[in-house]
Amino acid sequence: MVIDLLGHPFMQRALIAAFVTGLAAPVIGTYLVQRRLALLGDGLGHVAVTGVAIGLLTGFAPTWTAVVVAVLGAVAIEVIRERGSTSGDLALALLFYGGLAGGVMITGLAGQSAARLNQYLFGSITSISLSDIWFTIGLAALILLVGVGLLPQLFSVAQDQDFARVAGLDVRAYNLLVAVLAAVTVTIAMRTVGLLLVSALMIVPVAASQQLARSFRATVVGAVLVGAGAAVGGLLLSAYVSVRHDVSVAPGPTIVLLALACFVATWPLGAWLRHRARLREPFPEGAVAPLEATDHDNHDHGPACGHLAVPHDDHVDYVHDGHRHARHGEHYDEH
């Protein structure tokens, strides 16, 4: 039945839109998480509501007015943050409320129903037009190109602003670039998951990916895989459930919940790996006094004793009851 569905042009368009959005959004999301601005996308999503409403009021394509207003909002947030007069999260909160309230009010002024606005708030991927597809692909390509091409610069700026400035990088320009790209991402993801869930597609794949990644590049690659997978998988899942059970399951929330499921699946694994890495970490040399073997023993450690064995240089340490040590003559060396 889903196979039948795949034959429909609207479904093919939706799949392309979901795939490229899922590919692009986590790239920018990684930089936002690195700068601890995970909620920036949400703030921009709310601002974009006003942009959509202005489009409905003036008759311009809401996608374009949303891009313009979201970019202006992104610049405003950066300026406020840089001036430092208002804290970043307060600036975000002001934009949240102003954007949403303005959007709902202007939609009313435009004489449009709430249902029209709902398309943008919760996404309407299956009603996406061919020109929208080209628009989405173009912007996603731009985001991927800049986000991957400038990775060393953007990484350094987000990692340590002071260092980046002394390295001669224009920190303000790069910060603005990330904010503007986040605004663009918000507007392309608007049709897929909706403005209220936009940020989830940028942030949740990163949260899932960083549980297992040890490097920034691996985090980006993992997040892109989770993002694209969740977007396509969520769309197919919602279509399947809708057809099979004759209910209407919106694709946007399904995509977000699927991404969250990835996080729920990777988190315990990541926590276990981190725990294991800590156990294997060597103590500083000579930090712990050796323990007399006579104080310790009810058995000799060995491959069969069941305690965690950690290879350490030329010997094997055993971890148990707050010790991590190896037998050395008549005593145990703590490592």
Binding site: V33, A38, F155, Q159, F163, Q210, R214, F216, T219
Partner: protein, 267 residues
């Protein structure tokens, strides 16, 4: 006033009558400082004396409200040779919101020499590898920095500055909160740099294993230079910059209620 090494007499840092104010409050006043090529200079002084602010002013992170700064003979406004500067900011951690491998953090120090939108070349990778080698973290190259101890993270930040192969280093409290073995590893790395002819300006509270490297000590107090000359034993420096037990004006007078009145608190 400066004790330059033989053959290294070009001034690499020249600050004339420099002043810095933070939020309108003067932190550095009428400061003259010349550092010559190849010198190893330490900046000492109590908290709030302006050591960190001075280093931040010298790398351009704090604008001068007065005076002029020249680096390598070029006025700071037209200075573009960022690859000649190595900066180790005062940070407790090299980690951020997303995991980053040791190599990635160190490689960001190479950006001063890389062109935009070009992949890292063989020279870039070799510089990163030798920087990691010098701080003794080559075996941790692929690990996430967040899993390293504080002292190791500090060494990562130093390797990041080394990767750009600069000849002038500014280090802001690299030994703060670092255990002795890590301080020793750090001292070895800085010693190797200094022997290779690099100029080092180091802000610190405690010299520890770095002490034998120092050519020249500058002691700041309330934003002014109060001593500039041959290395002091830290005890001497302490006596020097605490001539009286009165508190510096930057310290809020926070006293616990149980402190007996009239008893002077040692800061």
């Amino acid at each position: 006033m400066s004790t330059s090494r033989p053959g290294g007499s070009d001034p690499v840092v020249e600050l004339r009558d420099g002043a810095v104010a933070i939020a309108g409050r003067p932190v550095l006043r009428h400061l003259d400082l010349t550092v010559h090529a190849g010198e190893f200079v330490t900046l000492l002084g109590p908290n709030g004396s302006g050591k960190s602010t001075l280093v931040r002013a010298l790398v351009g992170l704090r604008p001068l409200t007065q005076g002029s700064l020249r680096l390598f003979g070029t006025s700071f406004e037209s200075f573009r040779d960022w690859h000649r500067l190595g900066f180790v900011p005062q940070r407790s951690s090299a980690a951020s919101g997303v995991p980053a491998s040791v190599t990635e953090v160190v490689a960001s120090g190479r950006l001063t020499r890389r062109r935009i939108l070009r992949p890292a070349g063989r020279a870039d990778r070799a510089a990163v590898a030798s920087a990691l080698e010098l701080v003794g973290l080559a075996d941790r190259a692929g690990d996430s920095v967040a899993t390293l101890s504080g002292g190791q993270q500090q060494r990562v930040l130093i390797a990041r500055a080394l990767a750009g192969e600069p000849d002038l280093f500014f280090l802001d409290e690299p030994t703060a909160g670092v255990d002795l073995p890590n301080q020793q590893a750090l001292a070895e790395a800085l010693g190797a740099l200094s022997r290779a002819g690099s100029t080092v300006v180091l802000v610190t509270h405690e010299l520890g294993p770095l002490e034998p490297l120092v050519d020249r000590t500058i002691v700041l107090r309330d934003g002014r230079v109060v001593y500039d000359g041959a290395p002091l034993h830290l005890d001497d420096a302490h006596g020097h910059h605490h001539p009286s037990p009165r508190r510096a004006d930057h310290h809020p007078g926070v006293v616990a209620p149980l402190d007996r009145p009239g008893e002077e608190v040692a800061w």
